[in-house]
Amino acid sequence: MLRQRARGPVLVLLALLWATLPVAPTLVSTSTVAYAVEPDEMLKDPKLEARARKISQNLRCLVCQNESIDESNAPLAKDLRILLRERLKAGDTDEEAVQYLVDRYGEYVLLKPRFAIHTLILWLGPFLVLAMGLIAAGIYLRRRMQASRQALASEAPLSEEERKRLGELLEKDVATRDGA
């Protein structure tokens, strides 16, 4: 009976967890941040410039360690920033501009690797670990509960004398607690 009662809240909790998943990535993403863009590179059109900024945050400065071309002070990053802006000015969509750079510099230029066969482990790995953890925890809990039910079933009910003693103890417990 107790188990059934517990099911409702579990479902609510799980639904809540599931519902929050899609919101996750953007919580920590830094969409308005900028570091090393120079004033003279910026495009006149603020919309176009905003697009350029957003794209360049996901492109790697190839000669740096773990810096996007948006953050880096390296000359190569500057060249890439300018190149990207030229493509956008020429009318490329975001995807086309990125593809243009990938064609020239390889997938290495992407800070966020594409979801493909060679990146399956990368993208699915963490969630595989989550699934395995949940399954293992579920198996563990089931076994524990089975063991506990068996233990309960094998235990003899309390005798009249034990019942009386238990009542006394509980009363004493309550009395001590109220006294404290």
Binding site: L2, E71, E107, L111
Partner: protein, 662 residues
Amino acid sequence: MIIELGHFALVLALAVALYQTVVPLYGAHRNDARLMALAVPAAFVQFLLVSFAFAALVHAYVHSDFSVLNVWQNSHSAKPFIYKITGTWANHEGSMLLWVFILSLFTLAVAAFSGNLPLSLKARVLGVQGSISSAFLLYIVTVSSPFVRIPPDRVPLEGQGMNPLLQDPALAMHPPMLYAGYVGFSVAFAFAIAALMEGRVDSAWGRWVRPWTLAAWTFLTAGIALGSWWAYYELGWGGWWFWDPVENASFMPWLAGTALLHSAIVVEKRNALKTWTVLLALIAFSFSLIGTFLVRSGVLSSVHAFAVDPERGTFILAILAFFIGGSLFLYAIRANTLKIEGRFDPISREGALLLNNVLLSAATAAVFIGTLFPLIYEAVTGGGKITVGAPYFNLTFGTLIIPLLVILPVGPLLPWKRGNVKAVLGRLKGALVLTVLAFALSLTLLDASVRAAFGIALGVWVVAGALEEWAGRVMLFRAPLKVVFKRIASMPGSMWAMTLAHAGLGVVVLGIVMSTAWKQERITALQPGGKVQIAGFEVVYKGTRKATGPNYLAEQGLFEIYRDGRKVAEEISEKRTFLGRRGMPTTEVALMHYALGDLYIAIGDQTKMGRTVRVYFQPMIQLLWFGALLMVFGGFIGLLDRRFRVGVAERTESRLVAQPAE
């Protein structure tokens, strides 16, 4: 002469460490009390020897003894005194020595403060610690010695200088804190190995492991927070976390250590999750080892970096393989000897802590896979290069950590064994109301995006949940004030620790979300007299002047800051070029803290259009480090818990009453 004595002491320490490994472990195996008892004096002697060696190196740095190769490579006579000391560990060889020094300190602490441990367990723990010490000392003595001399006829007059980025107070304290965290997990590791050897884990084991884990976790939290604080004001980009492999290397042991901290509670209180907790202790220290080595070996940037120094690389791999592989092997063959006990429902405190562990493990896996994937990819494809950057980590780690934050306030309110979520949510009414309110207010009044509002609500939920749990515990507003004060005064340290750490985490979340969502930036080229408007401030650029520091030349940008037409501050933002061969300039940003956020000014190069000036307004970003401070403070309070202290038997009134029932 002192250097040679230090070197000699280190070699002696290696001999003592080997002795400390072999004799007590053999004694425990043979059940020979005399042999086991030798572990304590060995730990003491080893500490004396290692600390002498470390002091010898510090001495050479302080006196700018450039006849020592390591000092010449990493120091400069004009450096301020404090950086002469911290320069000791701002390089590979010195930092390894610091690592061993902290390890010997922890070993000494275990030897001194474990009077109530069973002799065999104590001998095994100290023996395992001795083995770790042996490996590191052997590494230092053979391939990574900081005590190498330059031939007398070629001793240079001046050193090459320390990396300028590292000449900073926060970064001076960053490595010792980080290493204290890494090394602290070696105690939990040693306890886990000892438990596997003995084939026994019980509640007492959980209670012994918890304070050491908490100490390590507290240091590591402080170390990571210092590192990100430093990155924030020193790197000049206004960022504070870049998902850089070096950062990830310290973050993984922290995540695993956090999981361990929580699962060890279940071992102590409920005698359950024992095999899993032992495995976590092994994993936490394994990540510490990986973190220690990989950061300085350069292997994270490319596999080829390993080939530059094959001697050290192979040695490092051997140490990693021995301790990680060896401990996991021992676990595989011995874990089933640990008796599985303890029963509980899915909806219970244990169940919540288990879910906490599953989510933290998955989040750790995301960081681990993302950090090592480029390396593995390069190795497997034979040179293929791929980048895994911040967007990947934000997506995967962010997704996995949100459910954790959602369940966080619920867990501590669930009773052991069997609970009811509805009842718990009833006790979190205030937090629920505040959360909904925070969401609605940020969406309407503060003009936040749905995502930002959700993030703020999540942070409020965690903070308010922690506070409401505390309020319920002390019966705030429900009992007379006298009772409330009595309850506050008698609340155990570990409970304070939980409340502070949980609330601190919520504050960190708030800092992250707000500073990200409402960050403002202005990047312009300014002539002297030029102005920038940002977040209600007017920043006026007055010009640039040259200045000299003790060991650097600086270009100082002068700024005046106005609010509502009134001058509120005069600030200097610098670019420094340091003496010595390391000529790259560093930025010293002008940083002003206001109630609603930080004003952050960094100067760049002089161009034809004027001086490049970057001005940021970072709303509420200080919450991030304030939250981290709360977590660290909570950790220290937790360490003061009297139940953790040696020799204090855990006897509360309710226990005494409950005992006759057995």
